[in-house]
Every structure is written in structure tokens, then in C-alpha cells.
Amino acid sequence: MALNFKQETFRDDYSYSNSAHAIRRFPFPFAEDQYMYSVNIEPHTKGEPGSVYEFPFDIDEHYVAECLDKEITLMQDPGRYHALPHMMDAQWDFLELTMTALANDYPEHFSLSRNGQTWTWDNKPLGVCDTFTFGDSSTLVREPFDYIGRQVQGDFVLLDQRDGTLYADAGIVTSQADWSLAFNVGMSWKEWHGPVPRATEIGVMDRALKYLLNLQLANPVRRLNWTMTVNPRLDTSPENYPYWGGDRNKVNTDNVGDLVNLRVELQSLFRLPRSNAIVFSIRCYLMSLKDVTSYPRWAKRLHRVQKTMHPDLIEYKGMTKFHPIVVDWLSKFDDGAELGIGTHPE
């Protein structure tokens, strides 16, 4: 099925919106009425047709607009892309993984023809068509990870595995929930998870690391993470804090449903073959609270989760300023009826 790509923006006038189809397939993350960190990792296997889990890399109606937004961010701040020299094998691994997946899963939009080491990549939605030699960076306009990272929705970090841990040694990061690639590049697992409250104490990070060190080829895994963002803005980076941080003061009882967005990250991890590195893919989905209430089940669930949220987590996720307004507004949609376990909308 061919996708209809929307013209919309993730900055300035924020014309981004979700179709009814996009709302229905939204990866709502709360299966229970209470939320706490856990090693919520599961196999990244093929999901229901039409769901965000159908394919390894989900392409949706926002694809073209999101890639355009990524270009703007990278143009304004080239430091959003970084790759340490020893990651070149991982760069080519990443290019192969993403090109192969997109061409296989969305043949009406992408195609890849391989003739030995000579590859031709045709990206119709973005109007890109290039022939290059696999393994030879000089035959592409940019480094391979930079080249294809711009053409896939989401952020990507390449993790090198050594000394019994993982190092974030390359990344293309333009839609992050307030963390900085320039700050984190070269850091180890323990270093970049240091700020997460409560998780380290309960041993979640050690267990997750142990699991990921044994991640296998052809057996990717995934988890969901979430926060809330004022306005549908992809680039909520510390570098550009002045452009979005203040928006958190603008939320009031009248505009909260439109202004505040549930921001869900579908995080998936794939072992790469030649480099033995891991791709950490962070695919961001945004939906206004008003859109969340399209499904009463989701509205009730979201209310209960937020109402019982630990203050440390509210602060860590940057929601302290507007969180009481969110809870108050959502309470109108919650009749207290019991909800079974599960994230389904109806």
C-alpha cells in the first residue's frame, strides 16, 4: 500500500498533525495503570500488518516532512552527526541493514539493486538516486551512516562493544528528548545512563546491559520509552533549548489538549554483522493529548499513569511545569472504570 506523505512542519508554525489512521496505530506505551522503569525489552519481531511493528523500520505519513526537518537541524548544527574513525565497518553495516529493509518492505517507495559491490539506491519520496561502491566512502556524497541516516525516520546511535560494555561511538541525532550527542559521544553504557533516576539502584541498567551484550544477529529487540513535549517538536535538544524550553510555561487549562504531546520512542536494537556493533534506533512518535482522547481507554489509562507518577520521574522527563495541568485536564476523561492490562485503543 502506497503511503500519502503529508506536508507539515515540526517547528515555527507546527502544522504537524496525525490522521485517524496514524492515531490508531500510535504505539501507546502504558499497559497498566502505574508506570515504573523495568527491563521492558522484547523481541523486535514482525507485528500486525499496518502496525508500527510490521517492519523493522517503520515509515509513515510523516516520512518526508520528518526527513526535511532532519536536514534543517543538521544544516544548522552539523555536530548532530558524529562518527569516530573505528566505526566505519558499522557505518556500512547500518547502510546495508536500512537500505535492504526499506527496499524490501516499501517497494513502491524505495529500491536497491546490488551488482557485486556496485549498489544503486533509489529513494522516490525524497527524489534521491545514487550509484556507489559498497565499502568505498569516496563514492558517496557523505559518509555512509550520514548519507542513509538522513533518509530514515528516527535517530540512530551506533554502539561499539568492547571491555564488557557498549560505547556510543557514532550517532545521527536530531529528534532527541533533551539529550546531546555531542555530549554523549564516546561514552560507555554506565556513563550515559548515569542521570536516569531510580533505575540504577534497582539494577535495571546492569541487567539490560548484560542482555544487550548477547544481542544476536537476526534477533533484534525493542522497547518503548516516553515523555511529553510541548508542541509537536522533534528537535527538543539541549543545544536548542532557547527555542523550546520556554514553551513549557505556555501550557494552561484551555490549550493543554492541543499543546502537550505524548512523545513515544520506539527504541529498537540490532546486532550488526561485520562490525559486531549494535544499532540503537530511536523512532519518535508524537500525538497531542486531544488525539489521545480519541480513544477513551487511552485517556483513562494516561490519566491514571500520570496521576501516580513519581516526582523524580516527572522532573527527569522535564514535565514538572505543566504536569498538574495535564493530570487535571485528563481527569475529566476518567470515570474510574476498570481497564484490563494492555495498550490497545479499544
Binding site: H86, R162, N219, R274, N276
Partner: protein, 317 residues
């Protein structure tokens, strides 16, 4: 676990004890790419049970039309290597896992010293291809009993040239470990694969010379040792499994139809770790994964290689 169906395309007797097997996909398509030092687990059905043995991939990681492994026939083989030698023939189909790498090259090292003993040469066969492709400085030191019994010496001479150093024990040639590791530039990493005494000697020599821990790498897959038979009770599955002397606990659990996690099956990776709820008489830990204090606590066990000292064991599975 996703397994790959392969066909045995060729078998070559390399030395009296070592056979080289070539696997291809049945439909002729490419096998997955891999990194130097990777291994696969080969599943073999024999005598009414399934053996799953890890073997290093030897060929060039960039040539994925076929996989290559070499199997040394083990004295006192529990069946796996003997079966590979006697019963596997060209044209047979086998199941293998995707490649896993527990013996990776350190990508930021300035120089690599590879030390192989006997059949321990196999993981280096793919690593040297990566090192040559990346143009990194390396030396391969290969020790064996005799030139007549040593596998792949001619091949290695061709491919490594002056980076290869051979030591034939029967010719009185000895690798001077102390000398080799005393004068290496900063940023050198050392890798060893071979018989246990050799691995221990390299690790201890390097440590005593002040090498940083993260610059010392070894691969030492264990075959599950033969031991006393015992019974294991699985708390969640609510069944009791007999573990015979010549079978590993993991194999016995699998044979009973209970799905257990695993990866290397050699006591290295930690994936098959199980919680111990009760035991009588202690545990016989053989793995390289758990820390000494974890082993002493008797609360965890790696069923791929470890056993019970008592008659009875209750596991959280």
C-alpha cells in the same frame, strides 16, 4: 532462536585429527556477513539426542557464499566431535545458528598479537582477514605439537607472510611468552585461543608485565564435562529431569522438552544463566562467566557446562 539450514558442500581431512567442513545455503543464497572471531553453533541429531557444539568460523568475513569450520576429533569425545568426524557426509543438511562473536578484535588497538595453540588457530583465521582488510599491524604466533599435525600452516604462510611465527614443539621450537609480551608498544592488544595451560600462561604473563586488563583477550570454549548423574527439578515447569553422566544439564533440560535460553554453550556468554532455588551438596561450576563470589553463593548456575555435586537441584525454570 532463528536457525539457518545449511548443506555440507565439502569435507576435507586436514590432518589425521582435523576435518574442515564447508557449509552452503541449500538454495545457493548468501549466508549472513560476520565479524572476525565469530562462531556458530552446529546442531546435530544423533543417537536420539541433539548435540549443539560451537565452532569458530574460519573463512573471510567478506566471502559469505560459504561458511568454513574445522573440527578436531576430541579424545574422550562425548559424541559431538566424533559424530562430526564419522557421520557427517557431503550433501547432508544441518542446522546452524547465526554467527555470534565473543572474541572480537579491539577496533581501537594500535597493534594485535594473536597467539594460537593447536586447533585454537580457527578463530584467528577469520580475524586475520579483518586485520588485513583494515590494514592494522598484527603478528600471529602459532604453536603446535609437530608440523605434521599442524593445520593450515601453508595457507597461513601465504596469507600472513612475515607476520606469521610458527613453533613446532617436536622440533624444539618454543614460544617465549615473556619475551614476546615484554616489548610491545602501548596500545597493543593480545589474544589467545588454545589449550587451557596456554591461555592461563598468556593471561598471567601479560598481567605480571602490567598489561591493562582490557588489552588481554581469550577464547576458551569448554566442552561440557562428564560428571556424576543427578536429578534436577524445574520449579516453573514443574517437572523433574534426569541428567546422565555424559550429558550436560542444558542438554537434558532441552531433551525433556523445556525451552531454555542459550548462546555459546561453552560457559562463556552468560545467556543460559539459571537461578538456583535449592540444592543439596553444592554446585560444580565450570563456567568462565560467573564471578567467584557468585559461584560461592550457589544462587546461580550456567547449565551448559556446570553440574550439581549433590543428588538434587531445584532451578527457577
Amino acid at each position: 532462536m532463528n536457525m539457518i539450514d545449511v548443506k555440507v558442500a565439502a569435507i576435507k581431512q586436514v590432518t589425521p585429527l582435523i576435518k574442515h567442513f564447508t557449509f552452503v545455503k541449500e538454495d545457493g543464497s548468501e549466508l549472513p556477513s560476520f565479524s572476525g572471531g565469530s562462531h556458530i553453533v552446529v546442531a546435530l541429531d544423533a543417537d536420539g539426542r541433539t548435540y549443539r557444539n560451537p565452532y569458530s568460523l574460519m573463512g573471510s568475513p567478506t566471502e559469505t557464499d560459504a561458511y568454513h569450520i574445522s573440527v578436531r576429533r576430541q579424545e574422550n569425545s562425548r559424541g559431538g566431535s566424533a559424530f562430526m568426524h564419522e557421520n557427517v557426509s557431503v550433501g547432508m543438511t544441518l542446522k546452524i545458528t547465526h554467527p555470534v562473536n565473543l572474541f572480537t578484535l579491539a577496533k581501537m588497538a594500535h597493534k594485535h598479537i594473536l597467539i594460537a595453540g593447536g586447533i585454537g588457530i580457527t578463530p584467528f583465521m577469520s580475524q586475520i582477514e579483518d586485520l588485513k582488510r583494515l590494514g592494522v599491524e598484527y603478528e600471529l604466533h602459532y604453536a603446535f605439537r609437530s608440523y605434521a599435525q599442524a593445520a593450515f600452516v601453508d595457507e597461513l604462510k601465504k596469507s600472513c607472510g612475515s607476520s606469521l611465527y610458527c613453533y613446532g614443539d617436536s622440533d624444539g621450537e618454543r614460544l617465549d611468552m615473556q619475551g614476546l609480551l615484554s616489548w610491545q608498544p602501548l596500545g597493543t592488544h593480545v589474544y589467545v585461543c588454545g589449550p587451557s595451560p596456554m591461555v592461563v600462561s598468556v593471561i598471567e604473563t601479560a598481567r605480571n608485565l602490567g598489561w591493562p586488563e582490557h588489552s588481554i583477550h581469550n577464547e576458551q570454549f569448554l566442552s561440557p564435562p562428564v560428571g556424576e548423574p543427578f536429578k534436577v527439578q524445574l520449579a516453573k515447569s514443574e517437572i523433574e529431569v534426569e541428567v546422565p553422566a555424559e550429558m550436560s544439564m542444558l542438554e537434558a533440560i532441552e531433551a525433556a522438552g523445556v525451552k531454555a535460553e542459550y548462546l555459546c554453550r561453552g560457559g562463556v556468554c552468560g545467556r543460559c544463566e539459571l537461578g538456583v532455588l535449592e540444592h543439596d551438596g553444592g554446585l560444580e561450576h565450570h563456567d568462565h562467566f560467573l564471578t567467584e563470589s557468585e559461584k560461592a553463593s550457589c544462587r546461580k548456575i550456567m547449565p551448559c557446562v556446570s553440574r550439581s555435586k549433590g543428588k538434587r537441584l531445584l532451578l527457577d525454570l
